[in-house]
Amino acid sequence: MTWRCGIAVFPGTWSERDCAHWVELAGGDPVMLWHAEPELKGADVVILPGGFAHGDYLRTGAIARFAPLMAAVREHALAGGPVLGICNGFQILCEAQLLPGALLRNSCLQFRCQTTHLRVEVSRGPFLSGLEAGEVLQMPISHGEGRYYAPPEQLRELEAGGQVALRYCGPSGDLGDQHNPNGSLRHIAGVMNAEGNVLGMMPHPERACEPLLGSEDGLQLLRAALAVLAPR
């Protein structure tokens, strides 16, 4: 069974070809989805890759959410279909209110491009149920606006509801400000919706898919996701 993975392409998206390579390595079938077309071309999984959709004008993801494609993505997400937003894709999902919270300018005010460690917080949803809670993954980040924020009461709900998916951590899974590259509240690197089928994360799993890149943990994430999808 080959899963079809739709990869959204907005003007300014820059990671779509990396994502296609990653999908192929994981055994999936990548198909590009142009932002102006309101269809998913039979995609089982939708990936919103990194970049600067619509130049990040106004706010990151603020314009992209009005793309015709996003109406189809919303429908897919609300029907329980797996949706993964990476970096700019995460920002778009927050602006589209498919995920809670917002992403702000890094507290260091610098664009950060570096390797990070991530602790898997919950083993649920199509993307993380193939992994174990507490597992530590290694992937790069590459962003200027990745500081996760949600109002205090919502943050409490996210924690209680198992919606905090990934946190920045040290190599052994320990938490601390020294491991938090952007000032995200509670070291949050990724969140999911209440149902678990929509995941947003700032780190780039597609850039951790070959030994040459220093880590294959991103490949592991997608392989696990494709493995737990129910056969059609």
Partner: protein
């Protein structure tokens, strides 16, 4: 558009430090926001107000992190 008071504003902190370095120690805080100028046609002030408010809520401002306020002035054009 300004960040809500509870949201940390590192840009504002950096600007405060800059002003201190330039010899303005009286500065106690800076919040960096965004200024948007709209030109629109409306029947009257009230309808312009309600339309602009709606635009702020739906697109110009992200209510999770930002507050907004606006002023209207007639251009007469």
């Amino acid at each position: 558009m300004t960040l809500k008071p509870v949201v940390n504003d590192p840009q504002g902190l950096a600007v405060t430090q800059g002003l201190h370095a330039l010899g303005y120690p009286e500065v106690r805080g800076t919040r960096v926001g965004k200024h948007i100028q709209l030109t629109l046609v409306a029947q009257d002030r009230q309808s312009a107000e309600s339309r602009v408010e709606e635009m702020c809520r739906r697109l110009l401002c992200n209510g999770v992190i930002e507050d907004f306020h606006f002023q209207l002035s007639e251009t007469g054009a």
